[in-house]
Amino acid sequence: MSKHLKVALVDDDIPNTEVLRDFLIRNGYSHVDKYHDGESFLESLDRFDERAVVLDFDLSGGGELNGLEVLEAIKERSPSTHVIFFSGQDSLEVAVESLKNGADDYIVKSNAAFALVKTSLDKVYDLQVLRTSEKRSQRISLLLAIGWVSTLAVVAYFLAGR
């Protein structure tokens, strides 16, 4: 089943990013962008960007910014964007710092890492689906309320006319 969640992979590791992208596509994520440095990703970032971002910490092979700096910039420009930190650094300090700065998850690159990224994205997707259905039911409730008020107003108008 195709999942309507756009994903951005930000990692300077070119072959692993390519493999992860193919893995996610095979698992239902049809729209996966790749960026090999934080700067080019940030250029593409919109306000209220709906993509989930899988972000590496050490981006030194690509640009000047590291993952934490990119995370900070994402949260400044588009606070609702979901960010999954995906790092080769098995460092408690980096993990705590990323979660404190708004990352949704921290995954250490390991044999099981691709599957863990997918699981984390699935959670973001489920949350997005839930929020969309909540918004829809709020809209329906609002429309029903407007309908009732209008009906009552019409009834009141006719009653007043008598």
Partner: protein, 105 residues
């Protein structure tokens, strides 16, 4: 190699494509690693080991991955690696590259 096998799903051309993708990074980085000066500041060596570590892991070379991870960690913690250890890592990487090149034939 498991993930590559799974993604290529029996398509030999797709498998070769992934292998070439990894070789494109591993080969030049092996040259950089061989040319690294262990007597100097070791941060450039750490950066190469960090970069290669994840790729070697995806390919499934567990021993080479463990070796690189341990050496990267040691340098990160302020320690050093000796020329002999670097040569050992280069040899492991060289063997891995050879195996991958064999798979392309």
């Amino acid at each position: 190699m498991e993930i590559i096998e799974r993604l290529s799903a029996g398509d030999p051309e797709k498998k070769k494509y992934y292998i070439r993708l990894f070789l494109d990074t591993l080969e030049p980085e092996l040259v950089n690693l061989k040319g690294a000066d262990v007597a100097a500041h070791q941060e450039p060596i750490r950066a190469i080991l960090h970069k290669l570590k994840s790729q070697v892991q995806t390919i499934g070379a567990r021993e080479a991955h463990a070796l690189m991870a341990e050496q990267e960690q040691r340098i990160k913690e302020g320690g050093r690696i000796e020329q002999e250890e670097l040569d050992h890592t280069c040899q492991a990487l060289s063997d891995l590259i050879e195996n991958l090149q064999e798979l392309l034939k």
